[in-house]
């Protein structure tokens, strides 16, 4: 935090949250229709309506994403934000929205996401996009070598972690096993059958050292959250989930440019968010940490300070991320087993909100007062950490 930064801890809250997923992985609606449905459900959850919305945040789809969506919805927002960092966009949206409402630039901000990669029969981003009038280092200096995107980039990070630190495939596999155990408690999860470390390691080798079960799903999904001032939040339908602090960091675009493949921008975003929120890792009751691949979680645990650098493998191998464990993580079943339409950060926030409210049904963790949503975008490129809290944390 800049020395003179004003602390807005607890001045904004998530008051509405909804996600739309299906155990089949498929949603038979267009993205625009899903966006409308997600916003409607999140506003209903808050007891608000579209006419209350004066802030809109949308990532991707087009360069003027939020403007297009505002026009589609027929609203005239006074705060508009198309920030796009891939999967961490929605944590960044909360960081921006909490500042916007705390400073009076708008009062009710909505962030929305919908994608249907499974119904489209295709896959999401393959890294070759971008402005044709600017150089594209991925197309020019990575794609000629056939790197699979995004998995190949994460595989390189896992390769380095294993070689430099001694992390094993079994340790990475345990992350998928713990996450699947949570998915077993979520009737909306795509995959619910328990798996073992052996199952992960004997699943198809995709890009060494990552196996098929080290990888997230590619399924349809949508979600929306509503952020407003703490003042307004008090009179709404559900208990406010306060925004205690947020932080962001970006260190590279493509994997060749990542300064150290064992250190993510979580070392920038995490400590900043925790300092603003006035917490330390041991205060966290629930961690929602982006799991595009098992290695993503392992790196984040180290970089957010839940364990020391190099100790992530030992930290996870006793199953402490799973049900009954010391650090409940990705309780919805994660991008690995619940839902991953491409930019999964939205779902981290929805689940954190439900858990703090005590609305997480069979997978509810007892006494969640502080939850962290940690988004990762690009290829470990841009990360954003959001600390959320119950009224007891104010």
């Amino acid at each position: 935090m800049g020395a003179n930064a004003e602390n807005i801890r607890g001045k904004a809250a998530i008051v509405g949250a909804a996600d739309i997923v299906s155990p089949t992985g498929q949603l038979d609606k267009s993205c625009r229709e899903l966006e409308m449905q997600a916003i409607r459900e999140a506003l209903d959850d808050a007891g608000l309506s579209l006419s209350d919305v004066d802030g809109l945040l949308v990532a991707g789809g087009s360069q003027m994403a939020a403007l297009e969506t505002a026009a589609y919805l027929g609203i005239e927002p006074t705060y508009i934000d198309s920030s796009m960092t891939g999967g961490s966009s929605y944590e960044i949206h909360v960081e921006h929205a909490m500042n916007a409402v705390a400073h009076g630039h708008c009062e009710v901000a909505v962030s929305v996401y919908a994608a249907t990669p499974r119904s489209a029969g295709g896959r999401f981003g393959r890294g070759g996009g971008g402005d044709p009038f600017r150089p594209n280092p991925v197309r020019e200096f990575e794609m000629p070598y056939g790197v699979a995107l995004p998995i190949g980039s994460y595989a390189l990070a896992a390769s380095r972690h294993m070689a430099e630190i001694g992390t094993t495939s079994e340790q990475l596999a345990q992350i998928a096993v713990s996450t699947r155990a949570w998915a077993g408690k979520n009737p909306r999860a795509r995959h619910r059958d328990p798996i073992t470390v052996d199952d992960v390691i004997s699943s198809q080798m995709m890009c060494s050292p990552l196996h098929k079960l080290d990888c997230c799903l590619v399924v349809d999904g949508a979600g929306a959250i509503v952020v407003t001032t703490a003042e307004r939040a008090k009179d709404l339908k559900k208990p406010p989930v306060y925004c205690l602090g947020a932080g962001t960091g970006a260190t590279h675009m493509n994997i060749t440019g990542m300064p150290d493949l064992t250190v993510t921008p979580g070392v920038l975003s995490g400590p900043a968010a925790f300092e603003r929120a006035g917490i330390k890792p041991s205060d966290v009751d629930l961690l929602m940490s982006y799991d595009s691949f098992t290695i993503t979680v392992l790196l984040s645990l180290e970089d957010l300070g839940f364990c020391k650098k190099g100790e992530g493998g030992a930290f996870v191998e006793d199953g402490k991320l799973g049900p009954g464990g010391a650090l409940p993580t990705n309780t919805n079943g994660g991008g690995l087993s619940y839902c991953h339409p491409g930019m999964y950060g939205m779902f981290l926030l929805v689940e954190a909100t439900k858990q703090i409210r005590g609305d997480a049904e069979d997978r509810q963790v007892d006494g969640v007062d502080i939850a962290v949503a940690h988004g990762s975008g690009g290829v470990l490129s841009a990360m954003s950490t959001v600390v959320l809290g119950s009224e007891a944390t104010l």
């Binding site: 020019e140 000629p144 699979a148 890009c207």
Partner: protein, 134 residues
């Protein structure tokens, strides 16, 4: 459709790099005022922001920083090439580049392995720098 992915070279800032490959020279960009390398090539220096850059031939030797054996192809041009090794190579000059490690069994490639440049010709006369055990 060509059988090999032909990297675009449609911006002036990377042209000297690709021109170098025609003579099997691995060219790196250097800041004229600080002497520091930068990769990938850019329109101007980032070390002396906006300042001039020049080009210097790399020795072509380096060390494997990270490596992944791809059992699934990264694009349609690689379908008949699996398994192959995608690696990040730390060049002796200090820059890190992505490449393939070839001329050895994929599973023999190790982090820390010393490698040297070898070339794969492209149809248009350019060539792709790849690496093999030194």
């Amino acid at each position: 459709m060509s059988e090999i992915y032909e990297p675009p070279a449609d911006t002036p800032e990377t042209q000297p790099y690709w021109d170098g490959t025609r003579e099997k020279k691995l060219m790196l960009q250097v800041c004229s005022s600080t002497g520091k390398y930068q990769y990938p090539p850019r329109a101007a220096s980032i070390h002396d922001l906006g300042g001039p850059v020049e080009w210097r031939e790399a020795k072509g030797t380096g060390t494997v920083y990270a490596a992944s054996v791809h059992h699934v192809p990264g694009n349609k041009f690689m379908r008949d090439k699996v398994p192959y090794v995608v690696a990040l190579i730390d060049l002796e000059e200090g820059m890190r580049v992505m490449s393939n490690v070839v001329n050895c069994p994929p599973d023999d490639v190790r982090v820390g392995m010393k490698v040297k440049v070898t070339w794969k010709d492209l149809p248009d006369g350019r060539a792709l720098p790849m690496f093999e055990p030194a």
